[in-house]
Amino acid sequence: MKKAAIIGLCLVLMWGTTGMAMAKTLNLGTLSPLTGPYAQDGTDIKQGVQTAVEVFGPVEGFDKVEVMPGDSACDGGKATMAANKLINSGANVVIGAYCSSATEPAQIPLMEAKIVMITPASTNERLTQKGYKYFFRMPPRDDVQAWSTVQFLEKKLQAKTVALIDDKQTYTAGLAANIKRFAEENNLVKIAAHEHITPGDSDFTAVLTKIKSINPDAVYMSVYQPEGSKMIQQVRKLGLTSAFITEDAVYHPKFLEVGGPAAEGVYLTFAKAPDTPERQEFEKTYKEMWKVDSVGSYAYYAYDAAMMVLAAIKKCGTFDADTLEKTLRENTWQGVTGEIKFDDKGDRKLAHIVWIVKDNKFVSYWDPLTGKDL
């Protein structure tokens, strides 16, 4: 440590003598929707990264670490603009974006500029299938999550019939399609209905009544949190008795707050998050820093991504994309969302576990990898 400090000092002095004495800054760019309907999750991502920078402290070789927030607005055009802005203002690593439909076009300029990009939220499979070397993904892909869900339906719930509800957005429709695919492949679970709702809508009674008349063993609710919270209340009011399973976009404290007693007994798939001291530490710091009562789910991934990047840069000493990419890929990192290890495509080997809402809390329930209760 001391040695490194001396070397660092020497370096600074050297630059100083050659007249290039400027503060060396490490720029962490973020891309997330800071405006529009997804601004909550987008802000969580930005704040997660900022928390990480605060917690990690100084990085050797750099005088300071700066976070450059970029607003993708969940829109392709704006996302590329924001990505180009980050490139031009000297971002060294970019964490983002949120919506797959913003991540996909933003990938192009960032990959061309050779900047490592880590998404804390986008799960569309196509993102990592294009052979981009510098692209990494923190959350599990759609198909991984769908696989976990189907395992749960088959093995734990032993459901024979399932109804799917999605709101026809990139993420939610992708999940539903994958569940349908897995279910059709092994033929144990029958898809009894596949219904769609409109994002932003409030009334889902028609579709839910339709499902009630079919009376499936389970219903998979592939929506975002706002619709999910409203839907689950209508489910209870209509007296629908099927088991309800939903995904990580609903895993949000707001779901408990809005859903209240109606949310009890809902199953959710979400990354396995070991209850480590680091995690508690993070939650505490985050709540203090941003004066909030709860931590949004994407803040965890964003925090982990930033912490991992900072650790990797510390390890390899540079943000050069080729070196950084190798370092990220070849090592195993520990984060608040569990162990981080990337495959050659940039996906994490991370499985979801099933959670249940119990006494207005998310409680871990079942592990699809082991098939055991938790």
């Binding site: 309907p37 601004a39 909550q40 802000t43 026809k168 219904e195 769609h196 709702i197 409109t198 932003g200 809508d201 409030s202 009334d203 009674t205 028609a206 579709v207 009544t209 339709k210 009630k212 008349s213 009376n215 706002p226 919270s229 409203k230 209340q233 209508q234 209870r236 009011k237 209509l238 007296g239 707001k254 707050e257 809005v258 859903g259 209240g260 007693p261 109606a262």
Partner: protein
Amino acid sequence: MDLTALLLQQMVNAIFLGSIYALIALGYTMVYGIIELINFAHGELFTAGAFIGVIVLSALQQAGWVESHFVLTLIIVFGLAMAYVAVLGVAVEHVAYKPLRNSSRLSALLSALGMSIFLSNGMMLSQGVSDRAYPQVFGLQAIEILGARITKGQIFIILLAIALMVALQLFVHRTRLGKAMRATAQNRTMARMLGIDIDQTIRITFMIGPALGAAAGVMVGLFYGAVRFDMGFIFMIKAFAAAILGGIGSIPGAMLGGLIIGVIEVGWAAFLPSAWKDVTTFTVLILVLYLKPSGLLGESVSEVRV
């Protein structure tokens, strides 16, 4: 669930949704009737009503009033929400529409659109981007009739909606102010000559229409359980469609239009591919306007005067 129960349940769903659309549509229709302007900010006024509702209701819930004075709590919640939005409606009219009363339709429409964006973002900044939970004072229990379930909250909301609509009809037809409103809607110049204070009448319209929207906002919150700054948009489009379907400017038309849009939506989602629900709503709207351009109950446009 047998077929009767299913049909009955869907009917309940449709009537419930339809009466909310109808209440919002009334605001559009009244304003349009009187100043021939689509009040784009109406959706935001509706959302503002829902927010005031949740603010008041949460405060009263904390004070324990929901248990002790249930009816009084509801009266206060609806009353304050409607009063607040009535003031907001007049303010919007004063700032954004009044100066434009004699300029082109397009500028008035753009001004309304700007107001809508402003209010929506103002609410986002003041009330946060995520949704706010509405205290569920009616609980989740439901009454079962022939296999169809209807909650106490739903019954209350439908009855209240009907009561408000009846009250509006009485107001418009029986009171001096209401008659002045109708006269102004028919012919503004003539009304002015008869000594009706046009500004006053327009102001009243901008109080009543948005206040009804605010009531609908509180109803939406009470039943669906959450409000969010951008929820006005979808309701706005549907209510807008309802108002035009029924014949814009016609109060019974707005009620009928609201119900029809509710039935179409629920009916389509219930028995046909639900992804195409909104496509159907808009297609029906376009067809109705094509076949009967004045809407279902609208006065047919009189022969062109040259």
